[in-house]
């Protein structure tokens, strides 16, 4: 391939002028390749020459005035890795030359032994090998580039996959949410149906139970008047009977209250005033149990459609529950405010609810106590009729179910939850009217 007209520029870095001349002569004498040698006596100027370019091969003596030994090669190779280097060496540093070859030199020639054939061949091979090396390097670079590209593609695919998994998870969460919403709606429906039945039963039961109770009460009163009540046992017996009767009556009354929520007189009312009234009615209870009240009730009038008596009954019931939970004292926080239902993530409650639509304004009353809280396993039962934690101490188990019924009849919402720091928080939410 060197059989052409292009000269092969050979840089000879050799301080021995005699040797340099000899080699130049030999190179010029080569017939089939047109070598064009030039000689430089030390490494520094040699590097300068190389910087100018257009050198096909370097013949390098390792012992130069400005550099000795293997360093000579390394310095040059570091700066011009693409230029093939053939080491020129004396007998004494043949081992060194071999080492240089291992480190990247193309070949080495022993001075005074090399004839024209050897030098020519060495130079040609050096150039060929370097070219091969270069091609190999370029192929390797290409390969690396392709690997990089493939890796990039792979990581893109990977990222896409990750996104898909994420999307999948998201839709799974949405599905889960929809499912719990459905379940909640179902619970609502079942609850509503239960309420309806209880409501219808209430009047009937009340009539059938209260009449006999009325007879018994009259009878007990008669005995109390007639019998020698100085006999303590008789007196206690009659008292117990009367107490039991009144308890039974309380249950029936609760049922009636429950049913009567369906007969509301809805009138435009000041929400804050209803709450103030309820608080006022229970002032003595708070004082008696050493309960501190923190009031944050808006001064403005906030209007809602409400049956004042029934709504007061709601708040009184909630407040009395709080008192029961703090019978040894505590703090009751009561706060009202107006909120706007936002589209996503309702400010009120954690779940979406079709009672209020995004953009609706609602009046919220939050009542927090520092009492005993409600065991988590019964939290979803507190609104069930006849569910009570105060059996035998006056609880009929109808209070909160009536409260919920009344609130729902007002097209409102009631939520009850344990607070993280103990106690219970109840929120009553009604739609605001202008």
């Amino acid at each position: 391939m060197y059989v052409n007209n292009n000269p092969v520029n050979v840089l000879l870095i050799e301080d021995d002028l005699r040797v340099a001349q000899l080699i130049e002569d030999m190179l010029l004498a080569v017939k089939d390749v047109k070598f064009q040698p030039e000689s430089i006596g030390s490494l520094g100027p040699g590097l300068d020459r190389l910087k100018k370019g257009n050198i096909a091969v370097v013949l390098l003596d390792l012992s130069l005035p400005d550099s000795k030994g293997i360093d000579t090669f390394l310095k040059l190779y570091a700066q011009f890795p693409d230029v093939p280097i053939v080491i020129l060496t004396g007998f004494d540093d043949e081992i060194l030359a071999a080492k240089a070859v291992r480190q990247g030199a193309q070949d080495y020639l022993v001075k005074n032994q090399a004839d024209i054939m050897v030098i020519g061949r060495a130079i040609r091979y050096a150039i060929e090998r370097k070219k091969g090396e270069k091609e190999l390097r370029s192929a390797r670079n290409q390969l690396e580039e392709r690997v990089k590209e493939r890796t990039r593609e792979l990581s893109e695919v990977n990222e896409k996959l990750r996104q898909e998994v994420k999307e999948h998870r998201k839709s799974q969460t949405a599905l889960q949410a929809a499912y719990s919403e459905l379940k909640e709606a179902q619970t609502h429906l079942i609850q509503a149906a239960k309420m309806q039945v209880v409501g219808r039963l209430a009047s009937g039961v009340a009539h059938e139970v209260k009449n006999p109770l009325a007879v018994i009460l009259q009878g007990i009163d008669y005995f109390q008047d007639k019998i020698d009540t100085s006999n303590e046992n008789i007196d206690v017996t009659l008292q117990c009977m009367k107490k039991a009767l009144l308890r039974a009556d309380d249950i029936v009354k609760g049922l009636l209250d429950f049913a009567s929520a369906s007969r509301l007189e809805l009138v435009r009312q000041n929400f804050n005033l209803i709450i103030r009234n309820s608080l006022l009615l229970l002032k003595h209870q708070f004082d008696k149990h050493k309960i501190r009240i923190i009031e944050d009730i808006g001064e403005d009038s906030v209007y809602v459609m409400a049956d004042k008596n029934k709504m007061e009954q709601v708040f009184i019931n909630i407040l009395l529950n709080a008192v029961k939970a703090m019978s040894q004292g505590g703090t009751l926080k009561i706060k009202t405010y107006v909120d706007k239902i936002s589209g996503v993530g309702l400010a009120i409650g954690s779940r979406k609810d079709d009672i209020f639509k995004p953009g609706d304004y609602v009046a919220v009353c939050e009542i927090e106590d520092t009492g005993t809280g409600i065991a988590e396993d019964i939290l979803d039962k507190v609104f069930d009729p006849f569910f009570t934690t105060t059996h035998g101490s006056g609880g009929t188990g109808l209070g909160l179910s009536i409260v919920k019924n009344i609130v729902q009849m007002h097209k409102g919402k009631i939520e009850i939850d344990n607070k993280k720091d103990g106690g219970v928080k109840v929120s009553v939410i009604l739609g605001v009217v202008s």
């Binding site: 009340a206 009539h207 209260k210 109770l213 009325a214 007879v215 009259q218 009163d221 009567s260």
Partner: protein, 125 residues
Amino acid sequence: MDKKKILVIDDEQDFGKMVKLNLEDTGQYTVRIEDKGANAISVTKEFKPDLILLDIVMPDVDGGEVVHQMKKEEELKDIPVVFLTAIVTEGEVDSQRGVIAGYPFIAKPVSVKKLISSIEENLTK
């Protein structure tokens, strides 16, 4: 002083009996009981009570209908009536100040003491 005449109209016969026992026991009242709404007018005309305790929910003629008929009779229309009922709560009675549709109310079950105070209150009206 003459005893006041109280007519109890209630289909729950035992209730009537017990009220009669308790009221007459005070020595202040003469009580007659009637368990059929349909007989209300004739019994009232005959007994001429000073006050009627009238059950609302009765199987034949209910309390409301009885009052409606009495209002049409000149000799009966001014007799005070106190309704007795088992289907309203005390709370409801209180919130209406013991009066529903213009008539005083007593929620069953009722103690003798309360019954008497309500009778007395309405007799003087």
